[in-house]
């Protein structure tokens, strides 16, 4: 272990970047599992253990990476302070996304299942769209591609507007509560996940001072 001092390896921030991408992979895994429980009728007990273990892994990684960011500043000085603060926010957003997968699991554990419902195809399509956004966000973090980031942010705004519209639709639906409420809640959770993914991508390209704020200066409260 000590001999690794003499070996070449990635720098502190490179390691944080790689781990962050790996955390996003874990968060996607939780999201997919939780969604399967709600949309495909998978046994919540069976997927729950995996989701909770993944969440613990995400939380442990967040703690470890926060420490590594402190070590980076202690060793390298304040030159990378903007990046370090950006990563701190970004890690928190990934941790929140992990929690939101647990929220979706909670729906399944409450006995909610949309498997076989008339509108399940729409839900499955949207789930796939969001699941793909995890991959896209990770790619953008790795490549720091500003054009892709802008396209991602535009798509996320569109998707969030659709989710918001759906929430309103369900709130004013004439259908019974046990039909409308789970659908509204699921769209609300999705909206928050997409907002956090957008926040992660924003952190990759925007200065730290503008993160979590909209263009006019108002706070972004969706996530």
């Amino acid at each position: 272990m000590v001999l690794s001092f003499f070996k070449r390896g990635e720098s502190g921030l490179e390691h944080v970047a790689h781990q962050t991408i790996s955390m996003l992979g874990d968060a996607r895994h939780s999201f997919d599992l939780a969604s399967t429980a709600v949309l495909a009728g998978a046994d919540p007990a069976a997927v729950g253990a995996d989701i909770r273990a993944t969440d613990e892994r995400i939380n442990a990684a967040e703690q470890q990476l926060r420490s590594e960011l402190v070590v980076h500043v202690a060793v390298q000085g304040g030159g990378d302070i903007g990046l370090v603060l950006g990563y701190t926010l970004l890690l928190k957003k990934i941790e929140r996304i992990g929690d939101q997968a647990k929220n979706i699991l909670d729906l399944a554990e409450e006995g909610i299942s949309l498997a076989g419902a008339d509108d399940v195809e729409m839900f499955i399509g949207r789930r796939q769209q969001i699941s793909q956004m995890y991959v896209e966000a990770a790619d953008i973090l790795a490549s720091q591609d500003a054009d892709r980031a802008r396209s991602f942010l535009a798509a996320s705004r569109e998707l969030n507007a659709e989710c918001e519209a759906k929430v309103h639709e369900y709130m004013h639906s004439d259908r019974p509560g046990h039909w409308a409420v789970p659908r509204a809640i699921l769209h609300r959770y999705w909206k928050r996940i997409v907002a956090n993914l957008a926040g992660i991508v924003t952190a990759a390209i925007e200065p730290i001072s503008s993160l979590d704020y909209l263009e006019g200066g108002a706070a972004d409260i969706v996530d």
Partner: protein, 378 residues
């Protein structure tokens, strides 16, 4: 293709920096040699007047401490001591307490760094305890080992024995190959000063002054450049200490990092913000500082390579053995191990309640007590 450019530029910059470090090490060795040469040029009377004050071990201890506080580098002060021993002006016996004092004085830097957290109680408690655990370990090592050394001469005998093993028992006549390499610039300096009209004590003092400046400047520059060169490795090592906890691994990391940057202050000062932020515990930071104590002795060993005779090597080895034995006793014996930690925690607790106490500690420990000690025992 676009990625190769910056990578190649970075590699070239690293190579250049490494070459600069090699040049600086040469300059450092030349500085030590100039220091030794300057003392030798001075008359025996002058040498006697200069070093009669350190004949008492307590005075020697405090002079070593004050000298190190002044330059904020035990690497620099111990290298000067090596040069003085090599010149024959300072005996090995008198130099041993000075080396121990230098070990004490070097802890001032991270203690000063910890004072930067004085406004935040919790951060300050953690930062000050991480800094002063180094103070307390070194104070306790001196309390245990200085009387033991004065009574038995064990550390100096161990060091002399090791030096004999390394250079042979006819060590008084031993001349390091590096000494020959740095002869040219020192001779050029001496000739230059002579042609400028310097001779006798004036020539000696000038050579010593130039030597001191060169040693200090080159050491600072070596540290700065090496820190840049090994920053990524340093970061990875610190992360491993966080991941695996303290103990032997932390000691070895402390040694490696300090040998690489040639400064224990760099290693221990990095621990302060980490401790203040709570990412490393005092128990895990403590062994890193012990490793730093051992690692910093490499500079005096390097200086001994440019000095004459085996006594220079012996005093450098005294520094190493003192720290190794200190660790064996104070860290190796289980019931003694927590003592520096508890003392540091207690001091931090008091200082959090009365902030002025921290400043009193720094002034008292590093300036007032040593000055009084020198005044009494010289």
């Amino acid at each position: 293709m676009s990625d190769r450019g910056p990578v190649q530029f970075e590699s070239a910059a690293r190579l250049l920096r490494f070459a600069v470090v090699l040049g600086l090490i040469y300059l450092f060795l030349a500085g030590v040699s100039s220091l030794e040469g300057g003392i030798k040029v001075m008359g025996a009377d002058t040498q006697e007047r200069l070093f009669s004050n350190v004949s008492h071990p307590i005075a020697g201890l405090f002079i070593g401490l004050l000298g190190t506080v002044l330059v904020q580098s035990s690497s620099a002060s111990t290298s000067v001591i090596v040069g003085l021993v090599a010149s024959g002006a300072l005996g090995l016996e008198a130099a041993v307490p000075m080396i121990m004092g230098a070990n004490l004085g070097t802890t001032v830097t991270n203690t000063l760094v910890s004072l930067g957290h004085v406004r935040q109680s919790n951060e300050f408690r953690r930062a000050l305890s991480a800094a002063t655990v180094h103070d307390f370990f070194n104070v306790m090592a001196v309390i245990v080992l200085l009387p033991f050394e004065l009574a038995t001469g064990l550390i100096s005998r161990l060091a002399t024995g090791t030096a004999d093993l390394l250079v042979g028992s006819g060590g008084a006549e031993w001349e390091s190959p590096l000494k020959a390499l740095v002869k040219a610039p020192v001779s050029a300096l001496k000739d230059g000063l002579k042609s400028a009209g310097f001779d006798g004590n004036a020539l000696g003092v000038s050579m010593v002054a130039v030597g001191l400046v060169v040693v200090l400047v080159s050491l600072i520059s070596i540290t700065k450049n090496m820190k840049q060169l090994i920053a990524a490795r340093l970061e990875r090592s610190m992360n491993r200490v966080l991941g695996r906890g303290g103990g032997l691994v932390a000691i070895v990391v402390g040694i490696l990092v300090t040998v690489a940057v040639q400064s224990s202050s760099i290693t221990t000062s990095i621990l302060i913000p980490m401790s203040a932020a709570g990412v490393i515990t005092l128990r895990n930071a403590y062994p890193v500082t012990l490793g730093a104590n051992v690692g910093t002795t490499i500079t005096a060993l390097l200086a001994a390579m440019a000095a004459s005779g085996s006594d220079a090597l012996s005093i450098a080895l005294v520094h190493t053995w003192f720290n190794v034995i200190g660790i064996l006793v104070l860290f190796g014996i289980p019931f003694l191990r927590p003592l520096p930690i508890r003392a540091a925690e207690l001091l931090a607790e008091i200082a959090v309640r009365r902030r002025t106490f921290a400043f009193v500690w720094v002034l008292g420990m590093f300036i007032i007590v040593p000055l009084i000690g020198v005044a009494i025992f010289r």
